[in-house]
């Protein structure tokens, strides 16, 4: 028995007079996808948290009471009405830094996540579809990336690429973070490629690329979205980790670099635990929100995968 509700059919009226009707427009698919995720309570909480961070990042200049690098205040001040979270050892306002720091984490998270997912999709799908020598080569490369511990690799690459800016950090994170997603997508591709509709597409004269990207890829929407949020989470954590270790540009205000400076100035010993807690909590919350959203992603394309109806 499989009484899964069928996905809401796109409007079946009015077909354009010519040209084959492709899939529904992208924005409509996106809206429907968002509604599916919203329907899951956990994911809804995640979306709300994420939205708060996104808005904070977007309107940072309006929200922050002072500039992020404005060091004209007293040093190591405790929380007060003027400085809700106190000031740093360099005399900057901690709240303003937290607000501006969200920009870095959000941007790096989503950009590096997107890069890693793009590589994972490309490698995973062609690896799953190919057979023979190419598949073996892909297998070797992916396994190589999986066994190398990613943090040391990141540190090595990041130190090698001197004066690494945000773009560089994103690329480094993408390079070290795609392998897991590729492996997951590859298994799903392998299971989908044995389905009759793929053989049927071959019989319809379709080329390999078209089969992979028009027949197989759309059936993996939820996996890809899931692996995107997973990669974004990993990227946010990795960026913070790298900044905390002082790799990358420590003069840029990010949650990671705040932790780095707080650690350098022995914030805990001076009783300024807020200096560590605020950025740390933000990192944890942002990562949690993405993980929560992932709970809702399962519903994206699964009902359609289980298309065959029970007798």
């Amino acid at each position: 028995m499989n009484p899964t509700p069928a996905p809401a059919p796109a409007s079946t009226a009015a077909v354009p007079d010519h040209a084959p009707s492709g899939p529904a427009p992208l924005w409509r698919t996106a809206v429907r996808g968002l509604a599916t995720i919203w329907a899951v309570p956990k994911a809804r909480l995640g979306l709300v948290i994420l939205a708060v961070f996104l808005l904070t990042a977007l309107f940072a200049p309006l929200l922050a009471p002072y500039g992020a690098t404005d060091n004209s205040f007293g040093r190591n001040e405790a929380a007060s009405a003027a400085h809700w979270l106190g000031t740093t050892a360099a005399g900057e306002d901690v709240l303003s830094q937290v607000i501006f720091g969200s920009r870095i984490s959000v941007v790096v998270g989503f950009v590096a996540g997107a890069l890693a997912t793009a590589v994972a999709v490309l490698v995973g799908l062609s690896w799953g579809y190919a057979r023979g020598f190419l598949a073996d080569v892909a297998n070797f490369v992916v396994n190589l990336f999986l066994v190398i511990p990613s943090l040391p690799l990141m540190i090595v690459i990041a130190t090698y690429l001197q004066n690494s800016g945000l773009a560089m950090i994103s690329i480094v994170i993408a390079i070290t973070g795609w392998a897991w997603g590729a492996r997951v997508l590859r298994s799903q591709t392998q299971s989908l490629r044995s389905r009759d509709f793929v053989t049927a597409a071959q019989f319809s004269g379709e080329g390999s690329w078209r089969i992979v990207f028009r027949e197989i890829l759309p059936n993996m929407t939820s996996l890809i979205t899931g692996s995107y949020f997973g990669a974004a989470t990993a990227a946010i954590l990795a960026e913070s980790g790298l900044s905390f270790l002082g790799i990358g540009d420590t003069s840029v205000v990010s949650w990671g670099s705040m932790l780095f400076w707080a650690q350098n100035s022995n914030a805990l010993l001076t009783g300024q635990w807020l200096l560590l807690l605020a950025p740390g909590l933000c990192i944890a919350l942002l990562a949690t929100s993405l993980t929560l959203i992932n709970f809702g992603v399962d519903g994206l394309s699964n009902p359609r995968l289980r298309e065959g109806k029970g007798r």
Partner: protein, 575 residues
């Protein structure tokens, strides 16, 4: 007093965010002790929902909305879970269609028995081993099976194990939900015989749920016919067989015939003695799936006309296919063993055999999907077994395939129009408006009208029969010379089969294609093919004219296959 009394039972499906639908509507019936009753209906008739409801195995979103289910004087419709669990011993048990997949793969069969004994505590600890042996013996399995893991047993053996497990609760009522549907033809026959014998010896009450009226009539003494959530006819097997009252029952019965008969006729499919002829009227064949197959239409003629290449035969010459051993130490698998045949242009030939007989492998060899280990395959002048990518693509213009499962042969995310446009664009010069016109012509050809509406639909908005028509239309898009149909109707309801078969046969004659029809169903082979090849373990055991071979089979394997065809007329045997 009846063992089971169901009064005004309704079951409703309440999926989130969708309209509730009543799968079972106000059904009432009673089962007497020791009765063997069949419950027949096609997919969507609510028969399985009813079976799950009376054993209280319904899961959300299905819910018993009202009604009483009285077992042995006790209403179980509203029983709490724990009480229900205790009731299962000595009460009711169920054997599922996928019963062979219901076993835990990491526990031996013995564990399965002991788990049940432990859960209900109805067998003394010291007697458990003996009892387990006794139970497997009842389903005609050796003791050794107890030491095996489910993965080491064949499908038929696993289904027997799940029957024995159901028996271990000493139920008064056994519900069999399509117990043999997922099994191979010959195995199916044997398992049904075991079930019949068991029921007679043990004397439990049995409810056999099946889509196959033939199977049910062969085994049961009373039959209930279900349609659209209601029981439309309830009578003894003899009554149902000889004097069916409801038009739905009559329609179901009309789809059975003996492939050995001199003249075989199915609704919408013509008499086919030794000679070829097609039906003149095809009005009723597709009424069930809301589509009407066209008689010869101008579009069909046009579709066939713009290809005038010489029609050439398919020649398979001493072909063998050997697969490497699945595991170390096991023997290599010889899927096809020295098979030769010639399929003349315009001819239709059946390849029959049970699963594993190599018939699908032959289809793969002919279409170039697999390469033979030895021997050659020619389509006209083209040698298929050495083709590379480019050549294979060209071969697809001539050789197309109709798939077995219409539910997996269409990409769920693509509209019918997209699916049909791709081969048109890939194999012809038609683009834009012209391509679209060709797609609509194809839909018209397979009887899916209004064409504009069907073009816009997604697969899940179509019925099984309609999907299979789309699959056929896709195969015809490039005007192939040879059509390979791999069990094209085995996944469809009985009433839809004749319609799809008639369509295939019509189109084959109209467009002058040759067809290789792969099936285990001898009846359908009899009505759509001229020649037949019977395969057993990769070898051809018998070949010749279809009518001749089926009426006067020479090989014992052919006879066994013929015997396995469900025959409503054999109903008397069981009683």
């Amino acid at each position: 007093m009846s063992l089971l009394e169901v009064t005004d039972l309704s079951v409703v499906y309440e999926p989130k965010g969708a309209e509730p639908t009543y799968a079972v509507k106000d059904v009432s019936f009673a089962l007497e002790r020791g009765e063997f009753v069949g419950l027949v209906g096609e997919s969507g008739s609510g028969k399985s929902t009813l079976g799950f409801a009376v054993t209280r195995l319904s899961k959300p979103p299905a819910r018993i909305s009202h009604g009483r289910i009285v077992v042995g004087g006790r209403d179980i419709a509203g029983l709490a879970d724990e009480e229900l669990r205790r009731q299962r011993q000595g009460g009711f048990a169920m054997v599922l269609q996928s019963g062979m997949n219901a076993l835990n793969p990491v526990r031996t069969v013995r564990h399965h028995f002991f788990d049940i004994f432990a859960a209900h505590g109805h067998v003394d600890r010291r007697r458990r081993e003996a009892r387990a042996r006794e139970l497997v013996a009842k389903v005609e399995l050796p003791d050794l099976v107890l030491d095996r893991y489910p993965g080491e047993l064949s499908g038929g053996m696993r289904q027997r194990v799940s029957i024995a497990l159901a028996l271990s609760l000493e139920p008064q009522l056994m519900v069999f939900d399509e117990p043999t549907t997922a099994l191979d033809v010959l195995v199916q026959h044997a398992v049904m015989r075991t079930i019949r014998d068991l029921q007679r010896e043990e004397g439990f009450t049995a409810l056999l749920i099946s889509h196959d009226l033939g199977v049910v009539l062969e085994s049961t003494s009373r039959v209930m016919v279900m349609h659209d959530g209601a029981i439309v006819e309830d009578g003894t097997s003899q009554q149902i067989l000889h004097a069916p009252e409801h038009p739905y029952t009559q329609m179901l019965l009309s789809h059975y015939a003996d492939p050995r008969a001199e003249v075989v006729e199915l609704p919408g499919l013509a008499v086919r003695g030794g000679t070829i002829s097609t039906a003149s009227t095809r009005s009723d064949d597709a009424g069930q799936d809301g589509a009407v197959a066209p008689a010869a239409r101008p579009s069909a003629v046009r579709a066939g006309a713009h290809r005038s290449a010489a029609r050439e035969p398919v020649v398979v010459d001493h072909v063998s296919k050997v697969y490497p051993a699945p595991r170390r130490g096991q023997a290599r698998v010889v899927a096809v063993d020295d098979v030769s045949f010639r399929l003349e242009p315009g001819q239709s030939m059946a390849l029959v055999g049970q699963s594993g007989s190599g018939k699908s492998t032959i289809a793969k060899l002919v279409t170039g999907v697999e390469r033979p280990t030895s021997g050659t395959v020619h389509v006209g002048d083209v040698r298929v077994d050495t083709l590379r990518r480019r050549g294979l693509r060209d071969l697809r213009r001539q050789v197309q395939m109709v798939f077995q499962d219409p539910y997996s042969a269409l990409n769920p995310l693509h509209s019918v129009e997209y699916t049909l446009t791709r081969p048109v664009v890939n194999f012809s010069d038609l683009r834009g408006r012209d391509a679209r016109r060709r797609v609509l012509d194809l839909l018209d050809l397979v009887g899916l009208s209004p064409v504009e509406q069907f073009a816009a639909k997604l697969p899940h908005q179509l019925s099984g029969g309609q999907r299979q028509r789309v699959v056929i239309a896709r195969a015809l898009a490039c005007d192939p010379q040879v059509l390979i149909a791999d069990e094209p109707v085995s996944m469809l309801d009985v009433s839809l089969r004749a319609g799809v078969l008639a369509l295939l046969e019509d189109l084959r004659v109209q467009l002058g294609m040759s067809m290789l029809y792969i099936t285990h169903d001898l009846l359908s082979a009899r009505v759509v093919t001229d020649r037949i090849m019977v395969l057993h373990d990769g070898r051809v055991v018998e070949a010749g004219e279809t009518a001749q071979v089926l009426r006067f089979p020479a090989d014992p394997y052919t006879v066994a296959l013929l015997d396995a065809v469900p025959q409503p007329g054999r109903a008397g045997d069981a009683a």
